[in-house]
Symmetry: C2
Subunit: 221 residues, 2 copies
DNA sequence: CGGGTCATTTTTGAATGCAAAATCTCGTCC
DNA sequence: GGACGAGATTTTGCATTCAAAAATGACCCG
């Protein structure tokens, strides 16, 4: 109940709602990686016909969550370790930018949201909750840049990374390390030290990415 | 005939082709900023029915080229100076990343493409061609990062910026300055000086953005 | 019993149809 | 002359339908 943050609200056009719901289905891991998308079933479930559902599928495909195979239906985009590396690399660039901008632009309200998200993360409940709270925290920093173009791109990357949690279970050792890094990030943020914050965020992202990549490689081997 | 580079090829699924063609219509300035999208007309022109066209519209809306107004049709996304600032800011982060990565990862073939694109830009033909050649040049650098996630995001930003050329005619003074900056970029690239290249690309982008913003403000005033 | 072929069923992609909403038209009144 | 509003017209959004492609599986033959 604490963290409804990264989910889109029930608002907006019907089309947007369908896109959100469909994305949620993918992010909840209801459909295995590489699984066929059950169009008919989802239509039933959402109470709509195929036309609007397929519109949503095309959007999600453009966002990288789904793969469209001509005449052979859509599948949940399979996780490709090479692509995961690229995702984290790209996210690194955004994290740096977030650090530089958030330090300068965060309003008192932003700062409060960030502090709260960090505090919530400080008392880790179950591992499943950790991932969500962690994303809330980082997203709060992204919001503080007040750049919606950046935020949209960041959200997309975060969600694509979020899918990985079903194939690489969170590494407890890495989670512990994260807490220390988060503290450092907060120190830099509170001091509004832009370059320091940027560097810490970038490094935190890099370390997380490396841990994920190691696990990915380990599990495939 | 020289520069077919940034346009998607005639390949891919039918859906992708429709998206490309539609994007081309928008980028060619056939439809004024804020104009209603003539669904029926485009269906005729592309020889398709409304269903696949509307799928493409949703994708372009998600990419930021179109605005969907419930029950009131889609319009060409109006140019908002604030958003333009955000676009350039975001692009700045990517340019930096491109500099750092391209310097290290460019293959000899990449280098050759970059040199050619730069040479083509060196002998400026008409102003319309300049914008396209300029984008080719910068895109060649982005390609040299060998990161498709980055490239896709970069392409999207470039295209959104490209639309501006119909509202802010290229400033000759600024174009001249660009040549110098491009030379500097090439020097850094040939030396594979990652930080120098990153900084030059970032600055070049910033200066371009500032020039565009000045023109935008001037014209609205 | 395994492999391969052809008919059947299912699924996909796109055109068409239909109800609801918005827009336009034109006559009326102030 | 211009503002208003009822009715016709167009446009939108979605459901439905239809042809073509792929998946299934029944059958045959070696």
């Amino acid at each position: 109940m604490a963290a409804p943050a990264p989910n889109e609200a029930e608002t907006g056009t019907l089309h947007e709602q369908i896109v959100s719901k469909l994305r949620a289905v993918l992010l909840n891991g209801e459909l295995a990686d590489g699984a066929r998308i059950p169009e008919a079933q989802l239509c039933l479930r959402f109470g709509i016909s195929r036309t609007p559902l397929r519109e949503a599928l095309k959007v999600l495909a453009a966002e990288g969550f789904i793969e469209l195979r001509p005449n052979r239906g859509s599948i949940v985009a399979p996780i490709d370790p090479v692509e995961v590396g690229h995702l984290f690399e790209m996210k690194g660039a955004l994290e740096q930018m977030i650090g530089r901008l958030a330090a300068v632009r965060a309003t008192p309200e932003d700062a409060e949201r960030i502090e709260r998200a960090h505090a919530a993360l400080g008392r880790p409940a179950d591992p499943a909750a950790y991932t969500a709270l962690n994303q809330d925290f980082h997203r709060a920093l992204a919001v503080a840049t007040h750049n919606p173009v950046l935020l949209q791109s960041y959200d997309n990357l975060q969600k694509r990374v979020l899918r990985l949690r079903f194939v690489v279970n969170e590494n407890p050792q890495r989670v512990l390390e994260s807490f220390g890094e988060h503290e450092g990030i907060m120190v830099a943020f509170r001091a509004r030290a832009r370059l320091d914050l940027a560097e810490r965020l970038e490094e935190h992202n890099r370390l997380t990415g490396e841990a994920v990549m190691r696990t990915l490689k380990g599990e495939s081997a």
